[in-house]
């Protein structure tokens, strides 16, 4: 167990963990606006990667235009999902809406399989292919891109929710929906916006990882579940916790695969999920609500 391999596992864990974190953020944003767990979140992540591959190949675009187009299309899919499947059942029980999101995820997966096939695809790296050596670990430039883009998304979301009136209005919808209506916030529009932002963040997570781990029509299931595990680990509803949870799961998974056995790689995320649910269901960063009656 030398320093080189520890570093190597750490970097690859953080790389994959970034995508888990972004997936988890997507869950958090919709949950905060609606109290619904959107089980189609993993499909947003898959769509980001698959559409980028499609646009790069079929339309012969460069990586950057393909990525931008893929992320915009996925955002649009998020908006359509809200308009077509969530808004018509407004006021329905949260559990029913969650089941609808599972239906949407199966539908999206099916459509992608039908049109893009069951093959596994890859994207060329965004910029630079030569790995850098760093204390005996080989770091590919894409890893650095992933970490940078994830940081940017986090800073962007933080600014949006803490500094802009629209971000605060979106939080207001989650804290006290009736009062949000009464101060003139269009709650419908905020819910739609939350789906758009979730799809945007999720697809960014999917597209940045594709040059490293490959993609296919069904990667959304596993990514979605691990993103969900990251949410629970960080405390459901806490954006900071979601991002941190994703990174932690990514790193633990990577160390587990490296030092124990790669056969159990996927199991680690779910072992963590179960342990957290037994030991501290509010998550490691979960806080008790401030309440005064």
């Amino acid at each position: 167990m030398d320093l080189g391999s520890i570093l190597q596992y750490l970097v690859s864990g953080l790389t994959v963990g970034s995508t888990y974190g972004l997936t988890a953020l997507g869950f958090t944003i919709i949950f905060n606006a609606t109290r619904v767990i959107n089980f189609a979140q993993g499909e947003f992540v898959m769509l980001g990667g698959m559409l980028a591959v499609f646009f790069a190949g079929a339309l012969n675009l460069g990586v950057f235009p393909a990525v931008l187009l893929a992320v915009s299309c996925t955002t649009l899919v998020g908006v359509c999902m809200e308009r077509l499947t969530i808004r018509p059942v407004q006021g329905a029980n949260v559990v029913n809406i969650i089941i609808i999101t599972i239906g949407v995820s199966i539908f999206i997966r099916g459509v992608v399989m039908l049109f893009l096939g069951k093959d596994t695809f890859s994207l060329p790296p965004f910029f630079g292919t030569e790995a850098l050596e760093f204390f005996g670990a080989m770091i590919i430039p894409q890893s650095i891109w992933i970490l940078l883009i994830t940081m940017l998304v986090l800073v962007g979301l933080r600014t949006y929710f803490n500094k802009t009136i629209f971000g605060k209005a979106m939080l207001a919808c989650s804290f006290e929906q009736k009062a949000a209506h009464l101060v003139g916030i269009s709650v419908d529009r905020m819910i739609m916006l939350s789906f758009a932002i979730s799809a945007l963040v999720g697809s960014i997570g999917g597209v940045i990882l594709t040059p490293i781990t490959l993609t296919s029509y069904d990667v959304g299931i596993m990514l979605g579940l691990k993103g969900f595990a990251a949410c629970i680990l960080g405390g459901l509803g806490n954006p900071f916790g979601a991002a941190a949870g994703g990174l932690i799961i990514g790193v633990l998974e990577s160390f587990g695969a490296g030092f124990i056995s790669s056969a159990y790689k996927d199991a680690f995320a779910f072992i963590i999920l179960l342990v957290i649910l037994f030991v501290k269901p509010s998550g490691i960063f979960g806080r008790a609500d401030i309440e005064r009656v």
Partner: protein, 245 residues
């Protein structure tokens, strides 16, 4: 200013408000009193657009508003201070006020909003002292002030107040009622006040309506209502024989 004509509201199969007609004129404080489940809150929710009236007409400043969504109604000049205050607890006091003026942001006229926040702090100094504290850490009375301040930030011409005294110590509740009459006297606000505490409500209002199981059973000036035998017996806790005040 506000006219309700023959309003019927249904909650599922429950007929919560039955053929209610009432009006509020510019500069008045009108009290709507009645016990639990009389339909007072339902009526305010209907005016604010949270619930659709089954039948009837709601006219505000000459325009019919009963098919409009809540955000449009706020824009047209009606703000509500909801029952149980409903402040955004995890957000700061200042953010709560800023959100009160949300519809003015969407119109792109945000320049004066900062000044308005300071005006609210001048009206309720205790809120100014706690501007960066989460609203959930305020006391009940302070939360009520914040909820009123938040509604005022929308620059309403008509203010709907739902049980502002509920759950507050009598002294605090009296102070809130004094603030409400100051709003009218100093800012020229028009207020529709819903209250279970009939005495406090009638003391500061010009006219009143008594609601019972969804119907208006008595209406008149506040003075008349204070002296009405039925109202005294049912809502002011007095024997009919005892004389007023």
């Amino acid at each position: 200013m506000l006219v309700l004509k023959n309003i019927d509201v249904f909650y599922g199969k429950v007929h919560a408000v039955k053929k209610v007609s009432l009006h509020v004129d510019q500069g008045e404080i009108v009290a709507l009193i009645g016990g639990n489940g009389a339909g007072k809150t339902t009526l305010l929710s209907t005016i604010s657009g949270l619930i659709r009236a089954g039948r009837g007409q709601i006219v505000f400043e000459g325009r019919e508003i009963n098919r409009q969504k809540p955000d449009k109604i706020v824009k047209s000049g009606i703000s509500q201070v909801p029952e149980r205050r409903l402040v955004f607890k995890p957000l700061s006091v200042e953010d709560n006020l800023l959100l009160g003026s949300y519809h003015r942001y969407s119109l792109g006229r945000s320049a004066s909003i900062g000044r308005d926040v300071e005006e609210i702090f001048a009206m309720f100094p205790v809120l100014g002292e706690r501007r960066n504290q989460p609203a959930g850490t305020l006391s009940g009375g302070e939360q009520q002030m914040l909820s009123i301040g938040r509604a005022l930030m929308a620059k309403p011409r008509l203010l709907l107040l739902d049980e502002p005294g509920m759950g507050l110590a009598p002294a605090i509740s009296q102070m809130i009622f004094r603030h409400v009459s100051k709003l009218r006297d100093e800012l020229g606000a028009t207020v529709l006040l819903v209250e279970q505490n009939a005495r406090s409500a009638l003391k500061i209002s010009d006219r009143g309506y008594v609601l019972e199981t969804g119907r208006v059973i008595v209406q008149g000036t506040s003075k008349e209502l204070m002296q009405n035998n039925d109202v005294q017996r049912a809502y002011l806790g007095r024997d009919a024989g005892e004389s007023g005040r």
